[in-house]
Amino acid sequence: MSPPASGPPASGPPASGPPASGPPASGPPASGPDRAEWETVVGLEVHCELKTQTKLFCGCKNAFGDEPNTNVCPVCLGLPGSLPVLNAFAVELAMRIGAALHCEVRPSSFHRKNYFYPDMPKDYQISQYDEPINVGGWLELPDGSRVGIERAHLEEDTGKTTHQGETGRIHAADYALVDYNRAGVPLVEIVSRPDIRSSAQARLYVTELRAVLVATGASDGRMEEGSLRVDANVSVRRAGAGAFGTRCEVKNLNSLRSLGRAIDYEVARQVALVEATGTVVQETRHWDENAGRTVPLRSKEEAFDYRYFPEPDLVPLAPGSDWQERAAGAVGLLPSARRERLAGLLGGAPTPQQVDQVHVVVGQGLDDLIVAAVAQGAPAGLALVRAANELAADIGAALALDAGTFGSVVEMEGRGELTATQAKAVLAELLAAGGGDPAKIAAEKGFEALSEGSLAAVLQGVVEAHPEEWARYSAGEEKLAGFFTGQVMRATGGKADGKAVAAELQRLRQ
């Protein structure tokens, strides 16, 4: 939706003239205008599905991936006579988001946004309009820049439409099928101010916002499942100009990659347009990921007349200060603090690789597992690596994993009881099975790694059996280390840890 007073104001001549055609499908023109002359202005609207048990206005399950039309009732199907009742936990999560984004919580109300579309059971959407629950605020990005937040309001999601036909694309489809499981799922729409100045910053904003939403417990942040959806308001202006250019809203940005590509494309298109014709036509455009271009959806004149009016079936919402404080208190650590906490655990200056890993685990909400594992005695660096790689690869299962179990695996690896390969295999098994006893899984897989004592005993035996080679190795013939390792592996049936063998060889030689 386009709430009042969001995004850059439209300026310049009234929208008219020939329909805008973009640069060729291959992407932004290579020999384009001098980009340094132009400034990119972006405001983002992010729709976030809230992680509640039930829908916004009825007790139907809020679940992704269930059989079609199994989570429906008279309310979310819009059956005649049904009435909405607001989910208190959705309000709570909206206030958590507001608190995390430094917004002010205000008394709010719901409106009806009227338009016909088959995925919307009542043919109106219940949304907050001129009185949103969260107003004002900002998000600080890891690079230190701040993006202003206009508002973050509650609304209901629509059902899911599948276009059927030759290509599955809208315009070529023969008919469509509708599943209302998603209809009525609670959303918070977070509208940024037009403070973003590049596609890279836009990506950074969404990445950081996503981490905030995950950290507050409001969202699972899964863009690929559509629980986070982004629309971009893009305009350009000459560097140093005060007024904003005419904006276009770009829809269908389903990944960070499409967000960045779409903004770059749109900026190039608009710059070319202004340089050629002096104006941009205000319109809504659709990002075609395959073609790598935006295409016009509708012009300002064709904009919908939504006939907003106060939703008479709901009463105003005015959370008391005690509830607001409770919600704010439940926000917990924000991503920046979480990243600092991990850095503290790692000790010293983190490597660039570790910085990336820290962003991954905080973004996925896996950092609590690491903190718990370290508290249990696991080495921090190893816990970070395993979380950023093995856990992040199966995020759904990882978030359900018991922290103690994860800690045990990392500890075993840290003590050399499991090799890296074995630790990965045990983790994979735990994630697949939804938990278990790491020691038992290791035993079942025959991963009984040698204790340090028995490794020393085995190596001692090997050395005694090969005195000539040992003498040469002791004299500095390094390549014989491989020989001894091989002998140890043969003696232990491959259960010894290569690194541990190398260390023991060094110790024995000195």
Partner: protein, 489 residues
């Protein structure tokens, strides 16, 4: 016993509870009456004979087993066909809902069943409750029980006629701008609209959500009170349902009006036909006789009610009726794409009055006009509420006419929507303010057809309102015995 000699709902329930009459025999008698009389009246759109018999048998089983069968044990009830009934067709007298059987019961229906009442059928109405005569039904009009050439009023004309003709002792309707009170007045029965939020709207097919309330029809004030107590009370499924117990109206019936300050509202008298306004003044005199302090009062803001209502109600309706799009239930008229299918379906499925109101409401909400129409009507609504607040500092209740005239002829106002809308001029203010109001039969007009006197009360003052209504009913009965104001029988 009610005035016309038929059994009251209270008496029927007592007899069934004591095992003196079986619920089944009561229901069979009602079904027999409907079969005999309804072909002429057309009060019913659907008679749920099998279900009614089964429900009656279940009540009798409870009586035999010594369980409490509820305060309305075995009492036949007729429901306006915009109340959702599980498995029983609910059409709103619209082609667009032909054949739709809701998968759930309205909260009032659940409460009726829990109280032992037996739903015998669904009654005719103006399509989606939009109208004042029950002529806007896709199945044709209901006829007045005393004069088949006249309308029973509307939009709940089917329930009013069914109760008025003695086919059932109780009925439910919905009142958005007077749709219970006005047909009650025209048919000579009691009809009331509760304070907004006293009765759950869950399962009432919405017309104008901020105005709609479900209300009872009965042949006596006492029966209306009994029915209100059963259907009222908090419902967590309706966000606008008030979190308080049902008003204790039955207990208040005998309290009289001694010392009550009654305002005769000039705006609810002046614009009515002379035979109607005469009855209202007589009613006021009777209240004074009974000890009330009666004075004339003017509430000029009421005159703005009609216009405000005909902007707000259609605006909400235009949105409430968007869902009839041919996708999920009801009628579909095929077309090559979904927008054309929506249009073809809605064009074929809605009657002219519904189309008029949808377009009027769409206009009142559309870009550029919201402020001048819908927005302004909402501010006028505030003015009206403030005026009521002011007048209720001086008065405990207001009285006036329920409808400007007695029952008019079928076809008389069909061609002129504005003339039809004026039928609601006396009832609309209470819907805009959310206050309760009741219509009590009080004598007849020059044509011998019933006149209703309306009692209006402040929010949540149903008890006081029923006190006054019961007094008026006793006066009307006494006058009828004395030969004053006698109408047709």
């Amino acid at each position: 016993m009610t005035a016309d000699g038929s059994d009251s709902a209270a008496a029927l329930a007592d007899a069934v509870r004591r095992g003196e009459r079986s619920a089944r025999s009561v229901v069979e008698a009602a079904l027999g009456g409907i079969a005999a009389r309804d072909p002429e009246l057309h009060a019913f759109l659907h008679v749920a004979a099998d279900g009614a018999r089964a429900d009656a048998d279940a009540v009798d089983e409870k009586v035999r087993a010594g369980e409490d069968p509820g305060p309305l044990a075995g009492v036949p009830v007729a429901l306006k066909d915009n109340l959702c009934t599980r498995g029983i067709p609910t059409t709103c007298a619209s082609r667009i809902l032909e054949g739709w059987r809701p998968p759930y019961d309205a909260t009032v229906v659940t409460r009726l069943r829990d109280a032992g009442a037996v739903v015998v059928g669904k009654t005719n109405l103006d399509e989606f409750a939009m109208g004042s005569s029950t002529e806007n039904s896709c199945t044709g009009p209901t006829r007045h029980p005393m004069d088949p050439s006249r309308v029973p009023g509307g939009s709940s004309g089917g329930s009013a006629a069914a109760v008025g003709a003695g086919l059932v002792p109780l009925g439910l309707g919905s009142d958005t701008g007077g749709s219970v009170r006005q047909p009650a007045a025209l048919c000579g029965v009691v009809g009331m609209k509760p304070t907004y939020g006293v009765v759950s709207r869950y399962g009432l097919v919405a017309f104008a959500s901020s105005l709609d309330q479900i209300g009872p029809f009965a042949r006596s004030v006492a029966d209306a009170a009994l029915l209100l107590e059963v259907i009222a009370g908090h419902d967590p499924k309706d966000s606008t349902s008030l979190d308080r117990p049902a008003p204790e109206v039955v207990r208040s019936l005998g309290a009289g009006v001694e010392g009550l300050r009654v305002g005769v509202c000039e705006e609810l008298v002046a614009d009515t036909a002379p035979d109607v306004s005469r009855r209202v003044r007589e009613a006021a005199e009777e209240l004074a006789e009974a000890g009330a302090l009666v004075e004339e009062v003017s509430v000029p803001e009421m005159r703005l009610g009609l216009s405000a209502y005909y902007l707000i109600a259609p605006a909400e309706a235009s949105s409430n009726l968007a869902r009839y799009d041919g996708v999920r239930y009801g009628l579909r008229v095929d077309a090559p794409d979904v927008a054309q299918m929506n249009t073809a379906t809605r064009t074929a499925g809605f009657g002219p009055e519904v189309k008029r109101r949808i377009m009027l409401g769409t206009y009142a909400l559309s870009a550029g006009y919201y402020g001048a129409y819908y927005g302004k009507a909402q501010r006028v609504r505030t003015l009206l509420i403030r005026a009521f607040d002011r007048v209720y500092e001086q008065f405990d209740v207001l009285v006036g006419a329920t409808a400007p005239t007695t029952a008019f002829a079928i076809g008389e106002r069909v061609a002129d929507p504005l003339a039809m809308y004026l039928s609601d001029v006396c009832t609309i203010p209470s819907n805009l303010s959310g206050h309760p109001a009741i219509s009590v039969p009080f004598g007849a007009g020059d044509d011998g057809l019933p006149v209703g006197v309306q009692v209006l009360a402040p929010a949540l003052c149903e008890e006081r309102m029923f006190q006054v209504a019961a007094t008026l009913e006793r006066s009307a009965a006494a006058r009828a015995r004395a030969g004053q104001g006698e109408g047709r029988r």
